[in-house]
Symmetry: D2
Subunit: 296 residues, 4 copies
């Protein structure tokens, strides 16, 4: 190891210091096959690990003692999958987080984020296939568990849930000023790719599978069960439905890109376009983000 003397020197002058920092392994792709007697199950995960703690020596003086290698984090994800990836991803994330706290003497906080990709069993002739699957729809499930010596917090989410309604939506009564050219409409397509993430109150004994499915169901219902005055109003309504149905959820955050569907001007060709033919535009897009939570 080469000398770090002058690096240490410079680090202590000018009152320049290390602030918040974290490191870890991203996109660890763990697949587990559960080989049951009748049929196989599959778990398909993408794991991101981020550790926080006292890593100053590594940053400032090149001292790696006590630093867990990110390669070790990767190995750990696979090694613990055998015994600990047996139910919901929240439990697996917790097991991983605790392990990282134990393994790394300077680790104070482990954040483990897991995305689980859906697979649907094939059903040739209407019968379930014992071991063949296709990628499922309905978005990817996420869990984020943050673990410290004292406690763990549990969050969950859904991403890549693409939804669309063809009517019962408008955009009216908005502010008109110098640079406003958009006409009002009481009938438009609303399409978005839902990313939602929510926090559970503290307990690790939740039935996370039931809760995930419940929240997902409320989101989908809330998307379609009303006339939407705006993406904002639909965001709030979906969040409200989730919190009303699930007291375990303390807050939910949505990120909703407005995938604009623009009525195509066919009138110039003598063709009437009565909300039938649209151009789906990918950019630019409106982005509506917000949190619905419990007061106090």
């Amino acid at each position: 190891m080469s000398s770090v003397t002058n690096r240490s020197d410079t680090a202590t002058t000018g009152r320049i210091v290390l602030g918040q920092n974290n490191y870890g392994k991203s996109e660890v792709r763990v697949v587990k096959v559960i080989r049951g007697p009748e049929q196989h199950e599959i778990r398909d995960l993408w794991i991101d690990v981020a550790l926080e703690g006292d890593f100053r020596a590594a940053h400032v003086s090149g001292d790696n003692t006590g630093l867990l290698a990110t390669d070790t984090m990767r190995n750990t994800c696979y090694a613990l999958a055998k015994e600990h990836l047996v139910s919901d991803i929240e439990s697996f994330a917790l097991a991983l987080g605790r392990r990282f706290l134990d393994a790394g003497p300077s680790v104070e906080r482990a954040r483990v984020r897991i995305v689980e990709f859906p697979w649907s069993r094939l059903h040739p002739d209407g019968r379930p296939h014992p071991h063949a699957f296709q990628r499922g729809a309905g978005g990817n499930r996420m869990a984020t568990v943050v673990t410290t010596a004292d406690r763990s917090t549990f969050g969950a989410g859904i991403e890549d849930l693409l939804v669309l309604k063809t009517t019962e939506a408008g955009w009216e009564g908005f502010l008109r000023e110098e640079y406003t050219s958009l006409p009002e409409t009481s009938d438009r397509i609303v399409a978005t790719v839902i990313t939602a993430s929510w926090d559970y109150d503290g307990c690790e004994d939740h039935d996370f599978d039931r809760l995930y499915n419940g929240v997902r169901d409320k989101i989908l219902r809330g998307f379609g069960d009303h006339y939407s005055h705006s993406v904002q109003a639909t965001l709030y309504r979906m969040g409200e439905a989730v919190l009303r149905a699930h007291p375990e959820v303390s807050r939910i955050h949505f990120s909703l890109p407005n995938k604009h569907h623009l009525l195509y001007d066919l009138g110039r060709f003598g063709i009437e376009n009565d909300n039938e033919i649209f151009h789906a535009s990918s950019e630019p897009y409106g982005l509506i983000e917000g949190t619905v939570e419990r007061a106090g």
Copy 2:
């Protein structure tokens, strides 16, 4: 318009000539809402147009006379959707191709490729929602229609169909030589993202919807109904099943990336890994491509 004299001069020296060429509009995103009395239907298309013909003047002497603008092609896709996007995408592609042949005096061959994205109706409380949808699974449907003054040819396909089987697959008995290090296995995961494209014999009166669903079904069955000696063997088997069931299909081509799932070495940590824990690797990947067709 500036002079093109010297450009024409240079173009005729040295026997440098224009070879095969085509131009068109890509990624035209047409969405149509069919507003039925009980419920809405949605069609969500991505259209690529490519025209061939005598476009030498435009290339060599800057003469755009008779050249259809790609912007006009875009307008045409939307304009014709009103009347002609009423059943399968093959029929719509044909209508577009014929229009381009009619509209462009120097167009000799129109290739229209349409991808249709699947949407699944939401079912709150088990009842079909009249106008709300989520993105469906099972791959995107493709159609490619090539139209000339004399005839049209019809092709179809599927893309982005992600499938996986957890067992009943191996890779054994292959050649071993100087740079071979891979062990043989009689039990491995096979995962791939199926892209398949097939040709129909000439008639435009096929029931293209029925055929698409039939071919897709045979592919999925063929993926799971046997012990796979190799991706090549599974490719052939799927193709054979399609051609056997559907005499209208003259040939089918598959492009099958082998999404490797590598058994993770847990033995070094004293953990047995009996085909349970895998690393899903995205690169490099095997790529197996081939055509199954009728002889003669």
Copy 3:
């Protein structure tokens, strides 16, 4: 507009409330050509606008009064580009932010983030071309300006800056535990895609172009001017160099994916691999993130 009565009712029960929220337009692609007498200049921007303020009525009761449409934000970006996109992107972002505060009566905080893509003038025969360019290297420039009625804060950054060093880097002396399998090395490739963002102290009179180039230069020097004990140590060293050289910078944050280059095992084929032949792996990757700042 349909009645919102029952929606307002539900919104006030159960103490469910709207939390932090923002909305805006993303990926507005503004290109400006400055048509000078000798040559043209080009500005190529991607703008994200996010507004915060009192938008409760829109969320809770479907009342859009006073809500600026995201389409209006888009128009504003283009409209103001004529007069206000004349020097650095920080100044343009500030002009946009002030406009949004003025235009939207309920807007309290405007965040405008601009990415500027680099273009390099072509030089046929060594002479600058008056109006032809190719995409440049060296990363995209970012600016983020947050404006309120009282003050504005200025941040800048760089993204997509891909760098690599072939030696003078190691990874030694790290913790070894149960799941550690990685060997130590005192000679490895380090490659990363630098994303850095930094904050300026408050003044809007900075020479932002000079500062950007200075920070970028310090980062590139800091990447290559030492033996790297770890990505963490290099992160800190680059940050320290920036803060030391530029008192206007109060803190800098780096996000550094470790694009692993793995020595390929050629020994099994009887070929020596003396740090010559590597596999560039894209996943999983280490991710090292941290802030270097001034104390107090």
Copy 4:
């Protein structure tokens, strides 16, 4: 190995046969460091291998004898890099192709495609850094070598070369018909991402580095040295310039997406837009493709 009897049976009925097929390894990422006395050089490649030959037994009867594993192809890329990646990528591709022909008894045709990514040496204080680099601009270099027992053919190319000119381009005099709405213009931005591929006449003794740089230079000059009546006309002009300058090039193919830059309508806000402010649109896009070649 399970029985393949019934599979062989079905394969011989109905005259269903295996057509064209190929297999190989894609996205093999080989990085080589040349450790010179003064400074290091880096080669960064992405290799795609596709083999053709008599692979019928593997497809039809599950017989893998004599089949080269794609994993072996990967190993071969790394193993041969030590000795054979010493000059241009064409030579390395040829060495790989010959090796695959030798190694696989049923291989009849090896296609090796290599993409080389550019790296630029860092120059702190104006002096070349011995071992630190940043990703370069100007597109990725490609080579495609097809090798059979008798002969090899050499092709080259460039991809991801993003160019733009701000003027000296128009789109006038084109056909106007029922669905044409685009106005004519004699002053527009032309922007494209050039993908070009060209064939060399047979000899393997070409100075491929010189030729690549020459062709690239002619393309860039040809892009900017004239008033462009259309993308087609510019395509032809670039191709003509390449063939005129380099007799070793027998033909060149271009694929040119027209990255539309649309004049933004500011007149409705009382702002004149004299070809200054544009919206850069990513979809849909015109796609102009064509080959320029030598007659006969």
